[in-house]
Symmetry: C2
Subunit: 186 residues, 2 copies
Amino acid sequence: MGRWEPNARGRLETAALELYLEDGFDQTTVAGIAARAGLTERTFFRHYADKREVLFGGAGFLQDLLVDSVTATPASVAPIDAIATALEHAGTFLQERRAHSLQRQAVIEANPLLQERELIKLARLASALAEALRGRGVTEPTASLTAEAGLAVFRVAFETWVDPAETRELPQVIRDSMAALRTITT
Amino acid sequence: MGRWEPNARGRLETAALELYLEDGFDQTTVAGIAARAGLTERTFFRHYADKREVLFGGAGFLQDLLVDSVTATPASVAPIDAIATALEHAGTFLQERRAHSLQRQAVIEANPLLQERELIKLARLASALAEALRGRGVTEPTASLTAEAGLAVFRVAFETWVDPAETRELPQVIRDSMAALRTITT
DNA sequence: TACAGTGATGACAGCAACTGACATCACATC
DNA sequence: GATGTGATGTCAGTTGCTGTCATCACTGTA
């Protein structure tokens, strides 16, 4: 029983995404996910805090990507530009995984509970970005405002990019959206 | 049994807030809320979709307030200024109910699940504001970006205002934050 | 080789959130 | 006073999630 099969987390993640796509999030039971992964329900909850969290395993990576980018930017660069650069990096990462990103987005868009979880991840991201800015000497409320405004740009850009009619790549959409924000507030 | 007692919703809301403050959100059971309100668990779920929703009964009112304000603003006013004015109106409303706002915020801050619900309410608000702007002839992505940026300002301002050390009133904090956003993006 | 420790998992019991179906009571309207 | 309507009670059931303990694979050590 206790034999160690590789990739328990990975198998759970795959099984969950498949079932969420096939049957919908609500119709999928944790027992079903575990069964498809060849594990038990109890084991699922040892790897993920709840039924939703399994879709957000990669969120930490993206956050690190953004924070590292901000941290690596020279202090002479304006805060808003540091955030803009970081967002473009994240955009490149997501652009390279467009298919998976769209699949994931489809599942999330179909369920309000998943949207909540998505929003809290983005909120954490904003906090982390503000913290990174503070680490570079930016004071409040500029740090929080810049981070929040940057995330606002990211949200709008991402939503635009998800549209099948959109031909620009995500980093470009992000650049354009940031430019639009500057225009709006002028 | 079926006798009609006034304010079933109101009684549930009061009972829930009291219990959330006394025992914490997690420790409070729906059965307990219903009992304190003199109702049954089943009836609770007839009025509120879930255990969290009872804290957000007034969200619809605030949304209407904001949307109406945007709609009433003459089309000659720049979108960002229309949003700014609307936010100040909402700020006045919340300032007048500061005690209740802080109580509610304390409960929400103490629980991640409630934070998620709060964020989705704000996201809906952003959508509604963008829609209102579109109704005034503003095109995408300016409408969404302006609404999202406005909400970003509101979030930061609200968080600042909640701080006991803060002496400014909410509308003023909002004005100052909006000015800060303009500075940042310049 | 033997043995103790560690880590992942299974098995099982249980709580609480939430739902569906049906009965009941107060009230309004005819 | 019959009849419909709306809010509530009652009850049974599903499912997300947790606590607890036993089991098995693997590791290090003597």
